[in-house]
């Protein structure tokens, strides 16, 4: 049995080695998604924007200064919060092993601007946590009992940041269309489940506005039962009444994204980003969740170094 496993392992390693020796695929430098190999790309966007937080009493995530960086070696790449190794690439297809930070815990953080940008003058104190409400969620203080079926952020135990790893497939087809499929598993023992993403991206250029690039993306985010349960489930670890306990189920949340970028010159561009994600009922049914969408909005200028 051990011998068979050993043969299988050798076979898989050999297969990966063969695959990783495949022809190196270049792209046209003028294409928007084409980056020079072996060089860091760094840009910073300054403007106004927000990622809405769907949780009860959750802070929206402010977008004021948004850094954007990447490094693509011949096989290794770093792209913002993702680290990857591309073991196969052709003109149209890339297969990569990737690892990235899971998004979900960002909704459980306190993102008030005072926590990000230190204000030494006034109003520097963060919002006072509403412990009274937290400790008395059932409304025994004379409130209307039957209206309280929600759980606020401060009432639940602290969620942890999760690191995921898995496989990513990028398929470039037709006229700059890009399909991305990602399947990741938690690797730092936080929720011990899977999540995935399917995204179809299509850039558009217009001859009347030659320096403008409009990119539309539609996609779905899939979260396994384990992930939904860890972040949005409620159990005895949380300081809430048993009636509010919730067990998560797998979710599929579609989303739409629009990014418009107008290049003023080689380094400066004006950027507009809009995104809406429609949350699956397995998320919105959680007493923690207030909104059924997550919206992202940003408008500003970007400088590429």
């Amino acid at each position: 049995m051990l011998f068979i496993r050993s043969i299988n392992l050798k076979y898989i390693i050999f297969l990966l080695f063969i695959i990783s020796q495949s022809v190196y695929a270049q792209c046209a430098p003028e294409e928007n998604d084409c980056v020079p190999v072996g060089e860091w790309q760094f840009s910073i966007a300054i403007g106004a924007g927000v990622i809405t937080n769907p949780l009860h009493d959750g802070d929206n995530i402010p977008l004021v200064i948004v850094p954007n960086f990447s490094y693509y070696g011949e096989q290794v790449f770093i792209d913002n919060n993702a680290l990857g190794f591309t073991f196969y690439q052709s003109d149209t297809l890339s297969l990569s092993a990737v690892s990235q930070l899971n998004r979900e815990n960002s909704f459980f953080q306190r993102w008030h601007p005072n926590n990000i940008f230190v204000n030494s003058f006034a109003n520097a104190a963060p919002d006072a946590p509403q412990f009274d409400e937290a400790l008395d969620p059932t409304g025994d203080n004379g409130g209307i009992d039957d209206e309280i079926n929600e759980v606020e952020l401060d009432q639940v135990h602290k969620r942890k940041w999760a690191l995921d790893a898995g496989l990513q497939v990028n398929w470039f087809f037709f006229q700059h269309s890009h399909l991305q499929v990602k399947l990741l598993h938690n690797i730092n023992n936080v929720y011990n489940g899977l999540n995935g993403q399917l995204a179809l991206e299509q850039p558009f250029t217009f001859s009347a506005i030659p320096n403008n690039l409009l990119t539309l993306t539609i996609g779905v985010n899939w979260q396994s039962k384990e992930q939904v349960d860890y972040y949005y489930g409620i159990d005895e670890q949380d300081q809430v009444d048993e009636e509010l306990f919730y067990q998560g189920k797998a979710s599929i949340s579609p989303y739409f994204k629009l990014i418009n970028q107008y290049a003023v010159n080689e380094r400066w561009s004006v950027k507009l980003s809009l995104q809406r994600e429609w949350l699956d009922s397995s998320l919105t049914n959680s007493p923690l969740v207030q909104d059924d969408v997550i919206d992202t909005f940003f408008v500003g200028v970007e400088y590429a170094f």
Binding site: P36, V37, S70, N170, T215
Partner: protein, 134 residues
């Protein structure tokens, strides 16, 4: 009639002299054999400056005074020479035209020295769908 003859002779002389001068000039250019070797400077990566030792040689049918220019900068001059072979240091950051000029600063020969990188710049596709924080 006599006046017309003089005019005709004058015009003929002018045309002949001009043709002769042009012919001499083209002959002078055509007899120059000019070369700089090597023609290509290899650098490690694109954008790197190039430094190399090159051999300049030229040969003319007649004795001439000439100067070698790197772009608009004078590099070397030779007086009353028919044949020259010299070693020069080349320091350039981009493709550069070398010219050999006569006393009148007229270009009598030219040669382009190009820079090539041993590691040609490679590109690959960014593997991320759109601009986003997560």
């Amino acid at each position: 009639m006599r006046f017309n003859t003089w005019i005709t002779l004058l015009l003929f002389s002018f045309v002949s002299i001009t043709a002769l001068a042009n012919n001499e000039k083209s002959e002078q250019e055509s007899v120059i054999e000019f070369s700089i070797k090597p023609l290509v400077c290899i650098v490690k990566k694109p954008g790197d400056a190039c430094s190399m030792t090159a051999t300049v040689s030229w040969q003319s049918a007649t004795v001439i005074n000439s100067c070698l220019y790197q772009g608009i900068t004078k590099v070397a001059c030779w007086l009353n020479k028919k044949k020259v072979k010299a070693v020069i240091e080349i320091n350039i950051e981009e493709n550069m035209e070398y010219t050999l000029r006569d006393d009148n600063h007229q270009i009598i020969a030219q040669q382009l020295i190009t820079i090539n990188s041993s590691l040609a710049k490679k590109y690959r596709r960014r593997l991320r769908a759109g601009w986003s924080l997560f």
